[in-house]
């Protein structure tokens, strides 16, 4: 692991420890009260979920067309993180919605498309695990289609009248809420980067193991 990993991990942990204080200090939202504070982790997780899907898609495309194993490892790592952060979004969202909308779930466009994108990421992992030979390319093809879903998820909430808040909410946040939000975004971005690096390291070690076994067989 590179030298910068541990210091950055320590900084990230401290940032996460600090973020609840910023969140507690932010103003209450007028209609939703306390439960709205889920927003400060829900939104960054959603952004990382989408960014991770894009990283997976781009890495998959480069793997498909250039064939470098490095991109394949990156795609695999990004797919796993898409599942992780997608799970966080899809659990924190309904917990918030239960109070804010009165229902756990609604089949509106953004929720449906997000759930679908999450399932594509799961399918990627299933294919890699159980697909047998050639599954890396299969999964790469799948990831490309999954990436096509991401812009759809993001803009859907602006074009369909839906119960989910549109993207215009974020730029109009007051200062203290904005500060808590952007700090949480920074926490999650750094965490995503660190987890990605760690997961890619695992893939690299696995590749090293494979090549060791291969060299033994010679």
């Amino acid at each position: 692991m590179p030298k910068w990993f541990m210091p950055l991990a320590a900084i990230n942990a401290l940032m996460f420890a600090a973020s609840p204080f910023l969140i507690a200090n932010a103003d209450y939202e007028a209609t939703m009260g306390l439960v709205q504070k889920i927003f400060y982790y829900h939104l960054p997780s959603a952004w990382i979920f989408l960014i991770s899907a894009i990283v997976c898609g781009i890495a998959s495309a480069r793997y498909l067309f250039r064939g470098s194993p490095r991109h394949d490892r990156l795609a695999y790592a990004a797919a796993e993180l898409t599942v992780l952060f997608g799970a966080i979004v899809l659990v924190t969202g309904p917990l918030w919605a239960r109070k804010a909308w009165g229902v756990w779930w609604q089949w509106d466009v953004r929720l449906t498309a997000s759930l679908m994108g999450w399932m594509v990421a799961w399918a990627y992992l299933l294919v890699r695990r159980y697909g047998g030979p050639g599954s890396d390319k299969l999964a790469a093809g799948l990831a490309l289609f999954g990436m096509a879903n991401v812009p759809f998820v993001y803009v859907s909430v602006n074009y369909w009248r839906t119960i989910h808040p549109p993207t215009t909410v974020v730029p109009t946040l007051p200062v203290d809420m904005g500060a808590a939000l952007w700090f949480a975004v920074a926490c999650f971005l750094l965490l995503f980067f660190l987890l990605l690096r760690l997961r890619v390291h695992l893939e690299e070690q696995r590749a090293r193991l494979d090549s060791l076994y291969l060299s033994l067989d010679e």
């Binding site: 541990m6 942990a13 420890a17 609840p20 507690a24 209609t31 917990l95 695992l202 193991l209 033994l216």
Partner: protein, 105 residues
């Protein structure tokens, strides 16, 4: 490397404490602050237990569960990653020492 992962895992642990502290302060604040819904004009005093079920839903358990889930998911993932990594690295080291010794287990 294993030490690195272990340190990362331990450092995420204190994250849990402030989260619950904030939840508790939130609790306290919620007690002082009136429920943010602007009160509808009523003719008479309506006890909380008679409000429609939606207004009665306490927000704190939802908030705490949400943050707890985030923490658990991230922590669980880091632990799983650490375990997989140590397993693979153990095997790599074993193989490398076997090759160095010129034998195969």
């Amino acid at each position: 490397m294993r030490a690195a992962v272990l340190v990362l895992v331990l450092l995420t642990a204190p994250f849990g404490a402030p989260a619950f502290a904030a939840g508790a302060t939130g609790f306290g604040l919620a007690g002082q602050q009136p429920d943010a819904q602007p009160p509808k004009p009523v003719d008479e005093f309506v006890p909380v237990s008679q409000l429609p079920p939606q207004d009665q839903l306490p927000a704190a358990p939802l908030l705490v569960s949400a943050y707890a889930f985030v923490w658990l998911a991230l922590f669980g993932y880091v632990v799983s990653l650490g375990r997989r990594l140590s397993k693979v690295q153990g095997e790599v080291e074993r193989l490398e020492s076997d090759i160095a010794k010129g034998t195969r287990a």
